[in-house]
Symmetry: C2
């Protein structure tokens, strides 16, 4: 990997799309329509030229004709044409090239495998940063370099994402954005024929904009090198590894998806853990754990204060958090003395778990409860339930209620030195739950849609930090 050149590909000033066409709705030129730098098309078919012109994009018949340096190239030509384009990329000394083109090793055909081998030898000999083939390439939201026309642009965040699958790269960016997780740089790398996960780990672990790395991987070409890069990366920032293809059926799928080879899942998990990375099972867990890593103070132990808004929820919040190995101990006497002064809600109780009762206390008293438990010496983490069916009875009368509550929770979070997470019990108000999650995320507060998801993520990250520091 030529790091300096790859840096050009991830942060391009000039991009070329090769081979886009009307039949696919000029999807790549539209993906790149938000690019803040200079965008060119390369297409030799005269029948495609009016459509490209209509998009306002200058077309050339060859990469070599473009009168300036090209940092990143996205290639969507038929596979037989790919070697000629790669030769042009080499001659043009581009920063990097993504081959959207598929039909290579993943087809398990002699022709496809031979073609891929040709590309690999060309790229290696010329030290060309070849991404893919069979991939969606680079996503740099700040610069508007995209993998999909529905991805955001003009804003960015601390999350680096490396994905062997285009779907998972795109889904993660889009679902993550709904949870307040924005991308610094992401790459979908498909067959990983030249640059593999290890290269992208090396690159993102030294990228200052990236504070945490997520990886969706189906297989690695060089296991020793991968583990070495992973070990280096986890010394600098947390890395979450989601391995696709764990049994016979999943392996059948990875073989036809990215031509990846099967690996023993238990051995894999154990090696990942030894390298200081987190094993992740699915998209939800990737999102949940990243939220805890980025937006929750590291818990210093297993002791949680659980603040529910009804008796029934106080029972099952305790079950959820203790099931994953956390504890909800009694608070210090001084906390109970403070509660006795104002916590006289009928039906409520304040041992731990706390039940503030569905006659929700005022925002002031709610935050006072959080301040007391969060400064208690017996407590490492604070979990607060927001029960929308109950709270809606307040906001029906006083519409600004939720905004006031979110502002008060943000103030609380700013002075809280412990881990703090919110669980939104949306009940039937699912849309309102999504909206509240967005409001909380804007203020840097991690929220979860169920006690169990919050508990699993908090416990997993707490356990990870403990074993990682040990």
């Amino acid at each position: 990997m030529d790091r300096k050149a790859l840096d050009r590909a991830f942060n391009p000033r000039c991009v070329a799309v090769v081979g886009d066409k009307m039949a696919t709705g000029y999807v790549w030129l539209r993906n790149m329509s938000t690019f803040t730098g200079k965008l060119y098309s390369v297409q030799i078919d005269p029948s495609e030229l009016p459509g490209i012109e209509k998009l306002g994009i200058k077309n050339y018949r060859s990469l070599l004709d473009i009168p300036e340096a090209i940092d990143y190239v996205l290639v969507a030509v038929p596979r037989g044409v790919a070697p000629r384009i790669i030769a042009d990329c080499i001659e043009k000394r581009v920063g990097g090239v993504s081959l959207f083109t598929s039909g290579f090793a993943e087809t398990h055909s002699e022709e496809g495998s031979a073609l891929q081998e040709t590309l690999v030898q060309m790229a290696l000999a010329a030290k060309l940063n070849l991404i893919g083939p069979n991939c969606m390439g680079v996503f740099n939201p700040k610069l508007g370099v995209r993998q999909d026309v529905n991805q955001y642009h003009g804003r960015s965040g601390p999350v680096g994402f490396i994905s062997q699958s285009g779907t998972h790269a795109i889904f993660f960016s889009q679902v993550g954005a709904r949870h307040g997780l924005l991308i610094s740089k992401s790459v979908s790398y498909g067959n990983g024929a030249v640059l593999d996960s290890a290269d992208y780990l090396d690159y993102l672990s030294e990228d200052d904009d990236t504070k945490v790395i997520g990886l969706y991987v189906e297989g690695v070409k060089d296991g020793r090198r991968f583990l070495n890069s992973l070990r280096q990366a986890t010394r600098r920032k947390p890395v979450l590894v989601w391995k696709g293809g764990r049994g016979e059926e999943g392996n059948r799928a990875i073989s036809s998806h990215t031509a990846s080879l099967a690996s023993n899942p238990l051995l894999w998990d154990s090696l990942i853990k030894q390298c200081g990375a987190m094993n992740i099972d699915n998209l939800d867990e990737m999102i949940d754990c990243m939220k805890v890593i980025l937006y929750v103070n590291p818990p210093q132990g297993k002791r949680v204060a659980l603040v529910a808004q009804s008796g029934g929820q106080s029972v099952v919040i305790a079950d959820a958090f203790t099931r994953v190995g956390l504890t909800a101990p009694l608070l210090s006497p001084s906390s109970y003395q403070q509660f006795a002064g104002f916590f006289n809600i009928i039906g409520g109780t304040y041992l731990n778990p706390l039940d503030t009762s569905w006659h929700a206390p005022s925002i002031k008293d709610s935050v006072r409860i959080l301040d007391i438990v969060s400064t208690d010496a017996n407590i490492d983490s604070v979990v607060a339930e927001l029960s929308l069916p109950f709270l809606s009875q307040i906001w029906d009368f006083y519409p600004p209620y939720l905004d006031d509550l979110v502002a008060a929770l943000a103030d609380f979070k700013a002075r809280c030195s412990k881990a703090f997470v919110v669980v939104i019990s949306a009940g039937q108000l699912e849309e309102e739950g999504l909206s509240l999650r967005g409001k909380l995320a804007e203020r840097g507060i991690a929220s979860f849609p169920s006690f169990d998801r919050a508990a699993r993520a908090l416990a997993k990250v707490a356990h990870y930090r403990q074993s990682h520091l040990a």
Copy 2:
């Protein structure tokens, strides 16, 4: 339990609310405002009478003054007044009475416990069906008898729900409705001082409108009787048991919530299973398993056909379903022969898992794929992914697309003799995902928001049916 009288309480023609007041916004009279029969108020405080009159509800100073038979009474008086009201209920020979009033055994005070004991002795001596205390009582949506002002009314379904917690009774009814699970009858029974879970199990197991029973329980007074009733009930219909209060912390919470005693969770789970019921861990699992029980043909084995809409999803759908012990075997040669005739989607594969590619095939071809896999002798269950980020690119151009797709899936389901579930991969389109789930539920199609939730529910119900039939 007097079954005939309890039947009057669950299906009342005449309801009385005792002790409702302005300070709580006449919450109980408003809950009952949808009741289709005759509703009376009983209140002696003259300052409350104008408010009650304003609601258009006739008030009496005593239950005994009401000039007709009362089937169901909801009592919201201070605890000290409760014995006098119960005496009136006995004299009036009401069908049943729910005590919303709290402050009894769950306070662990001498006064509260003694008062509860007084009520218990009165009720037992008179064979009065006393529900609670410390509960939200009966929900009969068809008749508009409600526990909460935001519960639905005028429609009903096949789900009976018995809950020691008012919150869980109300939440389940409201969340369930969003998933197409409607209530036949539900009861929140709090401390269960007289009638306990065993009584409600006996009642609902013989209720023809109830096809499946969910139970949220914190503790039982008479373990032997409970297990006996549970065993009887599971002979007639599936029963799902969610036990709240599993560890030290949860037990602390149930003690102050409903005065329930701790039990050994592993022993509990094993006894529940021996009685032929399903152990459930949380609300989501209750909802998911009920959907499979009610709306999915019983799978005859562990073999699933997995139809995903991209390569990346074909990998992780396989991981999710095999992780829970199901298998995704290769299909029969005849299925592959049929696929070869029309399944030529670039990038797609049709081993198993299938990847129909994100160039989504036409609705006709999509359903053709489902017909082929569902009639394959190697397959017991069919799982179809609907990936909204991809499908939205179709409905952007052709808005009726989703409705057409739902109609075609409903037709498919009608002729499909295997288990069939849908997974909605909503991506960033979460609100659209909720809406699609509703459309599918209206047609009796069970959908899930992730592969993992679908897999766990399908595996759990398949396993349950297998061991239950064995």
